[in-house]
């Protein structure tokens, strides 16, 4: 907590929102990957989707200080919204479907957030976890509509803008996902540097004091929870469109947990933590987990402990400290 305050104090609020040259790097890298790594675009699409999901998690965990173990619920809501609309409502246009996924997930976020965000600490963590599991079990039990444990197959998605179809090398969906991620990132970046975002950090620091100086803490928490849920829904919707099926583990506890792991690895409350964390985690997992899943788990576990005990702030925190030397 101290290190973060120091970082915040080192950069005055008035200039913190200004763009820096290095902020172009992720996007340049994404463009370069399109031309240089044509064989990896399907993997790149998954990375972009996961970054969007983890970025949405950073908004509530890193900025508002809401620890949740059930964020996959919103990812899954988005994914199932796309799947169910495509199969049962004969709706195949990708952009409007994606918007629907965002709206459904945001509605879920507003509804649960309104009830759950009155609670704190362990109770809140347990409530997010239990309500996500509840959704998981509901989908599992409603097999007639949702496909249950086997998931939803046979999703048909029309070509993007009526022109670009999903090709074998995932070129379309790579550009589509990175584009959606970029737009969402602009929104999130603008938001966290706006007074609203600063008030969230105030709530994370001391909710009672924020309440005492006149902020409606509950309303702000519900607002950011809704937005975060919507973004997670977009990520889920993208995955459903890209893979053309929805599995029940879009809703699983493992997905919520892994997202949190990637976020902590990259660094919370820093926007770019999601980029670093997801990229490093997924690339390493892609390469190492094949060799031995057990050693991979052991390694990730050790790194997580090391981050908590030695290097708070994750990869972004380490980079920031190096940069200041």
């Amino acid at each position: 907590m101290n290190a973060e305050t120091a970082v915040a104090a080192a950069v005055p609020a008035i200039v913190r929102h200004r763009w820096r040259w290095y902020e172009a790097l992720p996007w340049l890298a994404a463009i370069a990957a399109f031309f240089l790594l044509p064989g990896y675009l399907a993997f790149g699409t998954q990375i972009a989707i996961t970054i969007l999901f983890v970025l949405s998690l950073d908004l509530i965990v890193g900025y508002a200080g809401i620890v949740t173990l059930g964020h996959a619920a919103f990812f899954g809501l988005g994914a199932y919204a796309v799947g169910l609309l495509s199969i049962h409502a004969d709706w195949h246009e990708p952009l409007t479907l994606l918007a629907a996924a965002g709206v459904v997930a945001a509605a879920g976020g507003a509804l649960t957030g309104w009830f759950l965000l009155r609670y704190h600490g362990l109770t809140l963590i347990m409530l997010t976890l239990a309500s996500a599991m509840l959704l998981h079990e509901t989908v599992n039990a409603g097999a007639a509509v949702t496909g249950g444990y086997d998931g939803l197959t046979g999703i048909r998605i029309a070509p993007l803008f009526g022109v670009f179809d999903n090709d074998l090398w995932a070129r379309t969906y790579y550009c589509y996902s990175v584009g959606v991620l970029f737009l969402c990132f602009l929104v999130v970046r603008r938001l966290v540097h706006a007074p609203f975002g600063l008030s969230l950090q105030g709530i994370r620091g001391n909710a009672r004091r924020m309440s005492a100086i006149g902020y409606d803490v509950h309303r702000r928490m519900v607002a950011v929870y809704t937005l975060s849920a919507g973004l997670a829904g977009l990520a889920g919707g993208l995955l459903a469109q890209f893979s053309a099926f929805v599995t029940i583990d879009t809703l699983s506890f493992a997905r919520s947990g892994t997202a949190l792991v990637m976020l902590v690895l990259g660094g919370t409350g820093r926007l770019y933590g999601a980029f670093f964390g997801v990229l490093v985690y997924m690339v390493l997992e892609h390469e190492l987990a094949k060799l031995s899943p057990a050693y991979w788990g052991l390694g990730v576990g050790m790194v997580l402990l090391a981050i908590v005990l030695l290097a708070r702030g994750g990869l972004c925190g380490i980079l920031a400290r190096l940069a200041r030397r």
């Binding site: 907590m1 965990v61 200080g65 620890v67 173990l69 009830f115 609670y119 600490g121 362990l122 109770t123 963590i125 347990m126 409530l127 976890l129 239990a130 309500s131 599991m133 509840l134 079990e137 509901t138 599992n140 039990a141 097999a143 506890f253 493992a254 947990g257 949190l260 792991v261 902590v264 919370t268 899943p293 057990a294 050693y295 991979w296 788990g297 052991l298 990730v300 576990g301 050790m302 790194v303 997580l304 402990l305 981050i307 908590v308 005990l309 708070r312």
Partner: protein, 288 residues
């Protein structure tokens, strides 16, 4: 109908006792130090594996294996408490959750590396297999033993917490740690002791649970939710609350799974969300 109800009740109570034995230490330690210890299930899993090793590799009897599970895990937990948990007491929740996820991943990986991914079994002593005639019906001896043991443990812990000097200290520290420290209680030492006993009991529960819910490398994640739910619903730091919550959730979960196999664990989560929203501090926990 009566037959089904009776067997659901009986299996549910046996399951509840396992939940109680595993969760009670978690409840008291979380009440004491306010650490969200997601990794508690890993202690139960470790206990299960120690029991398996002790009975098959070393060849000691079942009950000696259970004692070994308790002792080994309690001793290991003291080391872990000093190295890791002691540094999390004042940390933000996110750090606590992250460290615990790290511990769970390491425990799962360790279990796979040492024992492989296949579920383990343990041979019960001859006296515990078979069925027991309790007058009006026949019940499995093992489950009946667990129920008796669980109730005895509950009474012993309850007496220990409510009637002994050590119990009074623990209650004081749970209620108000700073005040207890000011009055000269060694809360840190108390916590290490409680942590060791709690982890040991969890290991004992993990060993007893093998026959009922199985034991595999994913045990810690698979049942994590259930243990936490028992603790959160029961109320932090309350032995009585944990007992009541374990009974409630154990019986409901068993009934749900018997009557609606498709619904899986649906009921237990509905119950949890409802109970927590009604009483955020748990059934018998005190609002803070």
């Amino acid at each position: 109908m009566i037959e089904a109800t009776a067997s659901i009740l009986f299996d549910g109570v046996a399951y509840a006792m396992v939940l109680f034995i595993i969760s009670v230490g978690l409840s008291v330690t979380m009440g004491l130090m306010k650490v969200v210890n997601l990794a508690h299930g890993a202690f139960a899993m470790a206990g299960g594996y120690v029991l398996v090793t002790a009975t098959t590799v070393v060849g000691v009897p079942f009950f000696a294996g259970l004692a070994a599970a308790f002792a080994v895990v309690a001793a290991a937990s003291v080391v872990l408490e000093r190295l890791v948990y002691a540094r999390l007491y004042e940390a933000p929740e996110l750090d606590q959750v992250t460290a615990c996820i790290g511990l769970i991943m390491m425990a799962t990986a360790g279990a796979i590396l040492l024992y492989g991914p296949t579920p383990q079994t343990v041979a019960l002593p001859a006296g515990l297999t078979g069925r027991l005639d309790i007058g009006f019906r026949q019940v499995p001896t093992y489950r009946a033993t667990i129920i008796v043991f669980g109730i005895a443990l509950f009474l012993a812990l309850w007496f220990g917490i409510e009637r002994t000097r050590l119990g009074a200290r623990i209650r004081a520290a749970v209620d108000n740690r700073h005040m207890a420290t000011s009055l000269g209680l060694d809360v840190g030492g108390l916590f290490t002791l409680v942590f060791a006993i709690g982890s040991g009991l969890s290991a004992l529960g993990g060993g007893l649970a093998i026959e009922i819910v199985g034991l595999g490398p994913n045990f810690a994640t698979q049942y994590l939710v259930l243990f936490l739910i028992v603790v959160a619903v029961g109320g932090l730091g309350s032995v009585r609350g944990t007992f009541v919550a374990a009974l409630l959730l154990g019986v409901c979960d068993t009934a749900g799974k018997y009557l609606f196999p498709q619904g899986g664990s649906f009921f237990i989560y509905v119950l949890t969300v409802a109970l927590l929203m009604w009483r955020p501090a748990g059934l018998l926990g005190r609002a803070r």
